[in-house]
Symmetry: D2
Subunit: 424 residues, 4 copies
């Protein structure tokens, strides 16, 4: 299924008047509205290939329908999203779930949808059929050098796939850790992981980056070998200039001040980028902005400030990706909601009066500082985000159009009721 | 596989001298040692049928070997545990994973191992093949009365299976809840759940109990419809005298004072019993006592005190079950470790000088109160627990014997490498 | 200091044009805007007398200036707030910090500012000079009946003061609990508390309510005797129809779903009302809406829904109070920010399309349900809240006017640099 | 008050027989018992001068009696503890609460009790009378260079006092942070703090260490400028070889794996040492080992392993201090309980069979690894710790003797009922 431009235009025409009124109202107070719109247009959030199917928990999975049964169909799905919002212009692949049989053809297909290949993702947290060694007790951390070698080789393989597709980064997320006190020697696990990462790092092309992700817990329940930003940064610093720390919003202990971590990683020049999602309890992998939208705004507030201070291009300097699990909602609708929430937070952050904020901070005027952030956050920026879509040729109301077009019904008709996303 | 009494005796003989020395030392200070030993002997902890296979997380599962491939083999596994420790004299079945084809034969088999049938467990958190309605959006809480009816009927079916086997309780654990704000009307979800439970309750035999379990979160990530002890107790009170609140140690928010909850539920006469496990972060389902052994002791301290005050028989008054997930360890070895940890905590709680504690509390002597609890907790009671096993004909060192007998190897030989526990 | 109506009018005139444009924009989509405005006008949030001075932590306190040094000045302060926002028409007194020497005069003074007397607050968490028994080890829970009697007598005294002032409720917040395992017998502490509350309850006038507040921890660090909503509800049910459970937003374990608790308490007819504040880590007592504004909205979403279903008057049916600590900000400015945030959340909740939400829930359309809540939450309702102020004769921009009038400077001039709020 | 050696001896004689029996039993299985005893004898835990008075919370403080009213009396108090347990041979002073008027006399007094001067503590979290600038909005982080200069100068002053007393380390704990989003520029706060610390570092004598403490939250409630081990390590690395990260057990987010942090800091050669206490909810500052004794053991397990690998002397290589708040217990009794719990955990960690553990880890034998740790932890080592005291000339039962001697009564007689510890 492909959504033609004419469909989009027709949809937009119907909403135009109402949109214009809202946009005029909200933009009338914004001096640099064109700059903001341009930034919003350029800001693209990658979609991981595994997000296109229904997710689940250890207790079960309630499958969806018409899910993409091949890499080609996954690209088609992201193409649909991108046609609707012109904000999802990249796909992030997961190996071995998405091994391209013919990289050139896959690249051409992606290009036809206006998509690029974001960071590649390796998988050493599951055993694959026919695998020589098990990752039950870890991969890059493993006490057995054979397991580590196998995991390193897999990552190098992933890099190769990525080169063929034009990707420029490898994301390493490890499930390595332990579930019981005593199981692991923490230092040796760290050192083994470092040595393994060094070997992978040595195979990175010159223009690639290595994203070292951290996570507080799960699937191991006593320790995680890269458990927090401090451990990830320690590794990134020991690895070298191409290694960075990746922040996944759900990978923290309760109450963590993630925006401060983001700010400091930017200060150190070591922030890789983001895996967006939201959570109330643990790594719940909910729709971005569904639970703590103000925190999402505060993170973007730090991102905008920190990237500008360091001269980092908002659109291309860091990696932006959604990493949620779609257990109850249609994955495509859910991803549209996540992208919308992220762009709202970004737009609000762009509205922050940084000169006034700086001044309030210099005067320790806490009341005023709060007012300045709330002034931006309380502004209804949806018309600004919609206008940026309009200017990019996307839909004013992506979910509305998704519904009106009965997208899922058509995908089911094409793919069948029982098509299940590969890899899940 | 069956472990003969002669094997146990031989094992015990080899350890007897060392054991006797330790037991003599620790028991010399204990006035009521025989009373304690008798209580320990009578204290049986049920094993759930799903705990006999390797567990996993949403990220994957690393299968074990020689797992029980049928209900008969599950009973055999619990029989092995019980032979080793004489403390696991009951099995808790899960329907539909363990539907007995011939209840009488299954009962006879269990009896041959000295096992009873503990509480029955229903499952409305997964869809079964051929099921008319999906539980994707809940079961007893569902907005659609057809779904609720189906779930109620399933629970009634479970009661019937239980009657046939001689069980005396139904445990209802619901995954019902919501993952996003707005998804659910909390009050209606509660009322629907209450109505459904009332129908189930109406089908309980006169001598049965209904255990209403609560859980803070997961698999839903915004709300759980029976989320805490307060909600469970509200339901139990509205249902009637046969309804009780079941406590699973992993089902709480961070830092919850579980022992206080236990104490108050006992005060209200509404404590059903326990699902034992341990956790560091969330519902980690680790080996009992592996992370917070002092908390386990404090819980038993409240249990002993509260049961004695109300005249509840320790062994039979409440339900005791392990509910852990064995992702990394051999399930049988893991269960032996859990039972040992639970009995240690129980033994320590039996050692608490309650007269002195009462006195310290009356005087607000906080230093002394702490000393009294620590005096019991710091005592090495392993020889007491071992002696209770010895007197019951079990092994002095169950895990040691489990290893020496190469139990798993033999099970693999009997069942095959790839035998996977049904239901997981 | 008193702010004349003419000052307000002049201020409003200067902002009128801009306000009108914003109000016209946002209200054009709202059918029942007058109903909403009327509700907002009627909605009054009480200010506790202890919030008018600078708060602190156990590590220290950085005093403010020009703080109210008497009950009269506290009333004056609330009068200033109320003049600015016409939303803080009540003051909540704390005994013994605010014992009125002449109740009639105090009432007359309050009336002159348009203020009523909200719930009375007792204090058995601190020792007062000359007190016979210490509350070090609790008050209503205390093992010594003399202490309990003293604490009960104090509460009865507080009721008397409240009667004289026209208050209609007593809020009991207890610091009772324990800091170490063993210190307390949980059941006896609960029973003692219940007995003590019964005595207090017996002294309540017929038209009074008893608000039983709960708190998870602090100032005791192992157990709190009324620790959660379940324990408070248990007490309220045992006490009778005039007893209710009071929710303070900061008094929960990490990640608690407070909106669900609110919904269920309303269902049970036992919600007393709220102590508003916000927090990131523990009972941080920050400005309402400063950290989790979406949660505040979700709570109001449940409140509006639940009150309407039960026919509870929004303005008068429950108790609304701010309970924050103003450690860094000027208390008056901080309170204005809290009131604004609360009214924004309330206005957003009033905008929720409940018919559509109900429909989405009935269809398990999670995507739509989220959209409906976000549609209301993302709306910039500040002009609606401002309009409600305008119609009530308050300032369009209360904090702006507070600044422009240099209120604190004038209070310092009147009261002196070193005037410290009584009771802190 | 001074406890004569003869009193101790007499006390020990009465307990000797019972002790010997227990010690013989437990030590009979321990090959290197003399090595362990020697380590225990050498292991000294410093007492901070502020721990000798009754602590409190922001809600109040229930004063004790006979508290030390001068630095001399504080030294006397620690001398009492040391006489009782020979394990508290150092005092850690806090400036400005404990400015020695005559350093030589103070040193001589301390020496007379066998006490050394542990790390010095500065205070920039409170304002002192007559201070030019306020720390309300931070100290080393402050936007105003004058405030930073004042705070730096204070730290340099503290170093001078320390030099005079023979201390060898400065502990910097900052309350710096923010309570509201927007209040602070995180990067600038970090950079200001770093610059300030550099100036302090430049004034450190060659044989001194700088301990950089971190804390997740409180007294600021949105961000702390040195919030976690990662931030502290970042600072320590930028400062130089004499800077280390100090771990306070209560200064973490919920569920943090502190033992892993400890292990990694040792790996990096950057662990300063410990502030011991325990907690259930937040920074509760309870008696060490009172809530999570197994965690305390696991931390010591990492300490022993990590120190041995790096050749760090257990007694002198790192800093050991109690940092608890004694709100309900007599501070001296409470400190005796903390020291006992710490030494028990240390003794248990010394019992761990590291060869076997290593082997189990190499084989991923999780069951065995857990057994090995539990074997050590479940051993009742109290007689070993008591024997180490006996060999050092301390009391077999310090708290028992403390009670028998009516120490507090005598201190009240000497100092008066209302003597309150200076600084609190």
């Amino acid at each position: 299924m492909k959504i033609e431009k004419s469909i989009i235009d027709q949809h937009n025409q119907g909403l135009q008047e109402r949109h214009q009124r809202a946009f005029d109202f909200v933009s009338s107070d914004v001096d640099n509205i064109d700059d903001i719109l341009e930034k919003l247009q350029r800001f693209q959030i990658a979609i991981p290939s595994w997000a296109l199917g229904t997710g689940g928990t250890r207790f079960g999975r309630f499958s969806g329908q018409g899910e993409p049964g091949s890499l080609e169909q996954k690209i088609e799905d992201v193409g649909l999203l991108h046609a609707l919002n012109q904000s999802s212009g990249a796909i992030s692949l997961h190996i071995p779930w998405d091994i391209p049989q013919n990289a050139e053809e896959i690249k051409a297909l992606a290009t036809s949808y206006g998509l690029k290949f974001d960071a590649m993702n390796s998988n050493t947290f599951q055993d694959q059929a026919g695998q020589a060694y098990s990752y039950k007790f870890g991969s890059l951390q493993h006490v057995d050098p054979n397991v580590r070698k196998q995991a390193v080789a897999h990552n190098i393989e992933v890099i190769k796939h990525g080169i063929a597709l034009g990707s420029k980064a490898l994301t390493v997320w490890l499930a390595d850790g332990s579930s019981f006190p005593g199981q692991l020697n923490f230092r040796e696990a760290f050192q083994n992981t470092l040595e393994s990462l060094k070997e992978i790092y040595a195979h990175l092309p010159a223009d690639w980056k290595l994203f070292v992700e951290y996570k507080a817990f799960e699937p191991n329940f006593y320790s995680t070998t890269i458990a927090d930003w401090g451990q990830s940064l320690l590794l990134a610093n020991k690895l070298g200039d191409k290694a960075y720390t990746l922040v996944d919003l759900g990978h923290h202990l309760p109450n963590a001040n993630i925006e401060q971590i983001v700010s400091l990683l930017l200060m150190e020049g070591k922030l890789a980028g983001f895996h967006f999602n939201d959570s109330k309890y643990a790594d719940d992998d909910l729709t971005a902005g569904a639970i703590r939208p103000y925190q999402l705004f505060l993170i973007f507030n730090e991102l905008v400030d920190g990237m500008d201070v360091r001269g980092i291009d908002h659109a291309t300097g860091l990696g932006w990706m959604i990493d949620a699990s779609h257990n109850l909602k249609d994955p495509l609708a859910d991803l549209l909601q996540s992208v919308e929430a992220i762009k709202i937070a970004y737009a609000q952050a762009l509205l922050v009066d940084r000169t006034a904020l700086k001044e309030a901070q210099q005067q320790n005027d806490v009341v005023r500082a709060q007012e300045i952030l709330q002034q931006a956050y309380r502004t209804d920026v949806r018309a600004i985000v919609a206008e940026s879509r309009l200017r990019s040729g996307a839909a004013l109301d992506p979910i509305g159009l998704f519904r009106a077009l009965d997208v899922r019904k058509k995908l089911i008709a094409e793919r069948g009721m029982n098509s299940v996303a590969t890899g899940l």
